[in-house]
């Protein structure tokens, strides 16, 4: 038989994706931390470096806000908000090219499609991305990304409040 083995999912989750040891890739975790501090009712998960790890953790939540560093060619520190709707293609935060599924390549959109197919997906998934500048080795965010963190966290709080 099959059944959930983890605890019942909280209703609103904020999760940072990325590694704090790759400079601006730590932006997602920084945003999640700030949101968790400001919104006690929100459950912070992660940081998660592999979107596949979200399966089981986010099952059945009302809202999952995924904070991540992005590289889209925009000005460093630019905040982008993308709601992953049904049929979303490879969007912000997706790991490899669409359709690839290796443990190193399954992107957020792939994981969400998989979760929807098996009926465990959160009701809404919103990605909050901060354009990164420096993804080299080491800790610490670049100045532009550091400044953008409270701004991104503010957007997340706006998303979270109506849901509570």
């Amino acid at each position: 038989m099959t059944g959930p083995v983890g605890p019942v999912a909280p209703r609103v989750i904020v999760v940072g994706i990325g590694s704090a040891y790759r400079r601006d890739d730590g932006a997602g975790a920084a945003v999640a931390e700030e949101v968790a501090r400001a919104c006690p009712g929100v459950t912070r998960l992660g940081p998660v470096t592999e979107p596949l790890d979200l399966l089981g953790l986010w099952d059945g939540a009302d809202l999952v806000v995924v904070a991540d560093a992005v590289r889209s060619g925009a000005e460093p520190g630019t905040v982008q908000i993308v709601e992953l709707s049904e049929g979303a293609g490879a969007g912000v935060g997706s790991g490899g090219p669409p359709g690839t599924t290796s443990t190193h390549g399954i992107g957020l959109t792939g994981v969400l499609r998989l979760a929807r197919a098996v009926g465990s997906a959160p009701r809404r998934v919103v990605v909050v991305g901060i354009e990164g500048e420096d993804f080299g080795n080491g800790t610490g965010l670049s100045a532009a990304v550091e400044r953008a963190v409270p701004h991104a966290a503010g957007h997340v709080r706006e998303l979270v409040d109506p849901a509570r």
Partner: protein
């Protein structure tokens, strides 16, 4: 993609998915004969052995765990075993049992991932796990539940599901409470039922009729299916210690690969992993797993690499069953770790990672600092056999159109669940027919 015509034919696939890491594959066929098969690994080299030089041996389990996000426990276990061998530490039986429970968690997590998300789509004509989930959500749900049961064991014993933080040379930083371990029983019972259903599911797949000729190498369990310890055995009768075996393994650098390729006695290819473990230890499987293997039509050994998915599923049953036994018999080790007195020495550790035997060898000085380190992961050992498999598969499938043959090649690589990140530490495919 196909280039050329007539007697010379070129096929190429630019990207090989559903393996861990990055690499490529090139097959050349001339006048209907497979001339060359080259598995190229271009994942950047990771220099873990050099990284260990000068570090304290006590740090080695956590440093080497970072080699792999899928099998960190294997790295921690082989690392601890090597250090303990070097300094002469004998661990308490209760530590050994708790290590084995942690290892069961990793096997469940890794095998569930490979069987359901990486390998099963091959047999069901799905491009990937997402397509499989859309077609057969119930099966994928079962696979995810299994993986989560493994995660839960890892979290309870190791502190977290990826890169556990509770392992140290000599044992553990902290022994989990009896209550925390007892809480694993329910999820593991459900996982064992799911694992048994998995064996039935995969046994019904269509398998190409291909038999490999393998030199199997695996640990031989001491009265139980091998995981955390054992002597090294082979299908040709080798029965030696890990150190004695490693002395006979010669690794060579080839230009196309950032991973070393291992040969036994400098010449012979060999295969580690589920097929090898099963062939050399089927009699040691727990009764439930042995019955499941018989029901699935597995004999005492299996040489059809495509059926490795069945063996992996049987090992899932074994890992769940064994974990349950360990949960029911749990006695917290006290102290949680054996004391370690640093001294100069050389030690070798070998344990069964989900995808095959993983060797570590360290030379330590009087202060427990690592002078030299050698890590031989399963994928390095399996590379040559994977190439031989490809040669057989291409030769047997020459009448197939390019796209089908290429697909079968990719499948053939995935049969062995290679972890290129570990081996470089992998995969574009190109088949050239001339």
């Amino acid at each position: 993609m196909s280039h050329g015509s007539g007697a010379r034919r070129t096929l190429s696939v630019e990207g090989l998915a559903r393996v861990e890491g990055e690499g490529s594959l090139r097959v050349e066929v001339r006048d209907g004969v497979v001339e060359e098969v080259a598995l190229s690994i271009f994942e950047p080299p990771r220099f873990f052995e050099a990284l260990l030089s000068g570090r304290a041996a006590a740090e080695a389990p956590d440093i080497t765990a970072r080699v792999c996000g899928i099998c960190p426990v294997a790295y921690q276990m082989s690392s601890c075993a090597a250090v303990e061998d070097a300094v002469g530490v004998r661990v308490d039986d209760r530590v050994t049992e708790l290590r084995r429970l942690l290892y069961c968690g990793e096997w469940i997590e890794s095998h569930a991932l490979h069987v359901y998300l990486l390998h099963a789509p091959d047999f069901l004509g799905c491009a990937d796990a997402v397509e499989l989930a859309e077609r057969d959500p119930g099966s994928v749900r079962r696979g995810l539940a299994l993986k989560q049961a493994g995660n839960r064991v890892m979290e309870t014993v190791g502190g977290r599901a990826v890169h556990p933080v509770n392992v140290r040379v000599g044992g553990f930083y902290r022994a989990p409470s009896r209550a925390a371990i007892a809480a694993l029983a329910g999820p593991l019972e459900r996982a064992r039922d799911d694992a048994l259903a998995t064996v039935g599911w995969v046994a019904g797949f269509d398998f190409p009729d291909v038999e490999g000729v393998y030199r199997f190498v695996a640990l031989r369990g001491d009265g139980r299916y091998p995981m955390e310890s054992g002597r090294v055995a082979s299908s040709e009768g080798i029965d030696v210690t890990a150190g004695e075996f490693l002395d006979r393994v010669v690794e060579e650098q080839v230009a196309r690969s950032t991973a070393l390729q291992a040969r036994l006695d400098g010449a012979l290819e060999y295969l580690t992993g589920p097929l090898a473990r099963y062939a050399l230890n089927a009699d040691l499987l727990p009764e439930t797993a042995r019955r499941a293997a018989a029901d699935a039509g597995l004999g005492p050994a299996c040489a059809n690499p495509f059926r490795s998915i069945v063996v992996r599923a049987v090992e899932l049953v074994a890992a769940c069953d064994e974990a349950l036994r360990l949960v029911h018999g749990y006695e917290p080790p006290d102290p949680p770790a054996a004391p370690v007195r640093w001294r100069a020495g050389v030690g070798t550790g070998a344990t069964e990672a989900p995808r095959g035997v993983l060797f570590h060898r360290y030379e330590l000085d009087d202060d427990g600092l690592i002078g030299a380190a050698r890590i031989v992961p399963p994928t390095s050992q399996n590379q040559l056999t994977i190439e031989s498999d490809l040669r057989r598969v291409v030769q047997a499938g020459l009448e197939l159109p390019d796209d089908e043959l290429t697909w079968r090649c990719e499948q053939s690589v995935r049969n062995h669940d290679p972890c290129i990140s570990c081996a470089a530490h992998f995969l574009d495919v190109s088949v050239v027919r001339r």
